[in-house]
Amino acid sequence: MSYLFNTPQQTQEMLAAIGVGSIGDLLEQIPESLRLDRELDLPAPKSELELEQHVRSLAGQNVTATRRSCFLGGGAYDHFVPAVVDEIASRGEFYTAYTPYQAEASQGSLQAFFEFQTLICQLTGMDVSNASLYEGGTAVSEAAFMAMRVTNRHDRVVVLGSVHPEFRQILHTYTDHLPCEIVEIRCPDGVADLNLVKEQLDEKTSCLVVQQPNFFGCLEDVQELSDLAHSVGALSVVSVDPISLGMLERPGNLGADIVVAEGQPLGIPLQYGGPYLGILACRNEYVRKIPGRIVSLATDRNGQRCFVLGLQTREQHIRREKATSNICTNQGLLALRATIYMSLLGADGLGQVADLCCRKAHYAAEQLTALDGVELMFAQPFFKEFVLRVGNGAERFVGAAREAGFDIGPLLTRFDTLEDPVRSEGVLVAVTECRSRDEIDALRDAVQNA
């Protein structure tokens, strides 16, 4: 069952029309010596019923956010997704369309992406946004490359050690083969030490990469950091949690030149890490240096307002090796989800969600640090996520929680770029609007003696 249409009889008719005797004849375009002389070694086909039974049983082996109370964070969060997001994003007209190259055949998606760009600008306080990148981590690297193009400084990128370890790893992978040096600044106190930062910034630095709230959940002084970057002519690249902008100051008001984000919190399911949504927005003057697709307003031959893919000369299909990025397929459907999510919540809803996350996280921190042997790793203001320091070892602590039906983490031991004691004794805890006081209290009781 391969979703085929051609019946044996039609196949014959079509072959006759072509003027060959068999499909085999058509395949003679491939030199015989190269043709596979056996069947592929793949599992036997399954009917829909069998497939569903098979997949359900495998899915049942995974412990999800609905099966165990989820305090997991580290860049992906169990935020609530309103049903409208699923209902609309699952419309075939959206998810079975291709990249909107033919404007007349794609006004639906084009307008949605234009709305996405606008909403991202409203949320971040920036001037322009692209129509999405792969995800939050690669967005940081794309921003760094963009900063190099803008500043024409290709030798040095300075990144805070409080930025997500995976984001930093990606930046290394993306640049290892280039002359560019990636300078990481330790953050022993959980946030940037401005003096250390100042020391590292110089006239060769293309940008300073900051995360707000940072990987530890703590809040950085974005304005100060941006000023430092600007003082050496470098750009300020800020990676944000979009939900936090329901409460925190918009990076556009804090000197950021390029804002990137992982858009997963904006109505995108966890689905084991992807597909998520890379967001990139910047100031107007850098628009022609932006990577990725952008939708632009236009006018059609009848003078009607419409939407088209804009500034395509930046892109690989036109500019090829000179393109601002190699990205082609992006994360359109996820941008649509975020657009629906943001238009449902508006500033008011985002504010309420941010407020709930913030209050519940602080309550959780208070309850957990009331236990002996448990304290906050960093004495810094935080938003919805924080790092605990647990004397008797993180593994035991997290294990006890798990036994009792709570997932907390990730365990920081998995990130080898982190330093002790954060890595050995640190436990990351994230609290979203979905967690109740009862759950938090129960978690506290569960880890009391761990």
């Binding site: 249409f5 051609n6 072959l15 997949v55 399911p269 798990r402």
Partner: protein, 491 residues
């Protein structure tokens, strides 16, 4: 019948004071927000975003959706994009709680079902490629190319070879050179050949000990199988270089021939094309790569490994290859799309998969034949899964361009083919019907093109007529791009 009001911009539909969502009251002890987060971190004013009701949002987007062509609604023969039917069962299954709500940092012992799926996916992709080592991490084909080129660079580095050049034919997809540049290589583009195939002699003239990788799409962008591929691969290997197969056109050769069998050392898949992704109006995709064993240790991490204990119990684990180039992205990969590919492969099996390609090739050749009188194909006798026809004759005789034909097709209820690519074909129309279209649809499509071939050129220059908009002025839009809505737009 169209509801024009609902498709105004969200910002125009906004009315101060409207709300769509309601959230629970806080259930934790109330504390002044200043005690939690100092005011200097907080925004003084909320962002100015549209204020809408739930019904506003629904009616807006549902009506917007009807302004798209899509595979669910239309024949969508966009060349090189493999716009095949996206099985609905995939959406249901990918949405199961056990898959859709699994946190990427859930521990391995609590993710065994997911890890098993991903492991099996690695195995299947390796077998289909004939290249055993697989990384599922790349988010799309372009990132798969970039990843593979970094793998090649690391491999040469370890061998102490300084190879700087990446070579590709002129018909290569734009992502090939862009990825090569990103990976720090110098790009060498071959001149087009009259046959549409890579000319081995020309290639030879560029091969030397600075050659790192030769990138080739096979079947190529013209829908032709590079018949000299093994000789070409041999030449590249003799020069000490590696052969990269751009797998975007795998839909033509599944189970018939394998990149690893015709000389490829590395390749990427476009799961959103070949394994019916879907495309989501521009993504998400998944661009897993498969490479030869001697490159396995360089793959980005994590990959999934299967461990079988004495007692036969199986455990799946995440591991980083020893000399891994590192991470290409956060978390594991575009799992949601990989899952759909997995469902597809488990549904089809070996024979079903081969039948996919056989019928893709059959449909393409049938359509090619039906159109040859009005839209001849300059290169090749036959084609694989797609072909590039030329409207040059119509252009010369009556001034009707490929663009005119493409736009007019929309009025007939068919999406347009890819136009003006590759450049080697004048007035190119790149047509890929895929295997999930019927003879009746191909016949109707052919009838439409024949009808268009007799329609008034003046009329055609203005087409389409039945779409919400027609012939946007892209040039003007490019001059001073308007990329966001601002209140003044409505003054």
């Amino acid at each position: 019948m169209k509801n024009e009001q609902a498709t105004q911009l969200l910002f125009e539909l906004s009315v101060p004071g409207r709300t769509a969502t309601r959230w629970p009251d806080s259930d934790v002890p109330d504390r002044p927000i200043d005690d939690l987060i100092p005011s200097r971190y907080r925004a003084e004013s909320a962002p100015s975003m549209p204020e809408l009701t739930e019904a506003d949002v629904v009616r807006h987007f549902v009506n917007l959706s009807t302004r798209n062509f899509s595979v669910d609604t239309h024949f969508y023969p966009l060349g090189s994009c493999t716009m095949k039917y996206n099985p609905k069962r995939h959406e249901r299954l990918a949405g199961l709680d056990g898959l859709g709500n699994l946190h990427p940092y859930q521990r391995e012992e609590d993710s065994q079902g997911m890890l098993q799926i991903l492991f099996e996916m690695q195995e299947m992709l390796g077998e289909i490629a004939g290249l055993p080592a697989v990384s599922l991490q790349p988010a799309a084909g372009a990132q798969g190319e970039f990843t593979s080129l970094l793998v090649a660079a690391a491999y040469f580095r370890d061998r102490g070879e300084k190879r700087t050049k990446v070579i590709f034919p002129s018909s290569a997809h734009g992502t090939n050179p862009a990825s090569a540049a990103l990976a720090g290589f110098d790009c060498v583009q071959l001149d087009p050949s009259p046959t549409g195939l890579v000319d081995p002699e020309q290639l030879q003239s560029h091969l030397d000990d600075s050659t790192a990788v030769f990138m080739i799409t096979n079947p190529n962008t013209l829908g032709l199988f590079e018949k000299d591929i093994d000789r070409i691969a041999g030449m590249v290997h003799d020069a000490g270089g590696l052969v990269y197969i751009d797998g975007a056109n795998m839909n033509a050769i599944l189970g018939i021939t394998r990149p690893g069998d015709f000389g490829g050392d590395m390749m990427h898949y476009n799961v959103h094309k070949t394994f019916t992704g879907p495309h989501g109006a521009g993504g998400p995709g998944a661009g897993p790569i498969a490479v030869r064993s001697f490159l396995a240790d360089y793959l980005p991490g994590p990959v999934v490994r299967k461990e079988t204990a004495e007692d036969g119990t199986v455990t799946y684990r995440l591991a980083d290859p020893p000399h891994s180039i590192g991470r290409m992205r956060s978390f594991f990969g575009n799992v949601g799309i990989l899952l759909r590919g997995y469902f597809y492969l488990r549904t089809l099996g070996a024979q079903g998969l081969r039948a996919v390609s056989e019928n893709a090739v059959l449909n393409a050749n049938y359509l090619r034949e039906k159109l040859k009188d009005i839209l001849p194909v300059p290169q090749g006798e036959r084609c694989m899964h797609e072909f590039v026809a030329s409207a040059k004759k119509q252009k010369d005789e009556r001034g009707v361009t490929a663009m005119d034909v493409a736009k007019r097709l929309l009025d007939y209820g068919f999406h347009a083919p890819t136009v003006y690519f590759p450049l080697v074909v004048a007035e190119a129309l790149m047509i890929e019907p895929t295997e999930t279209e019927s003879k009746e649809t191909l016949d109707a499509f052919s009838d439409a093109l024949h009808a268009i071939a007799t329609e008034d050129p003046e009329m055609l220059h203005q087409a389409p007529y039945t779409t919400p908009v027609s012939r946007p002025d892209e040039v003007a839009a490019g001059r001073k791009p308007q990329l966001t809505w601002t209140p003044c737009l409505n003054d």
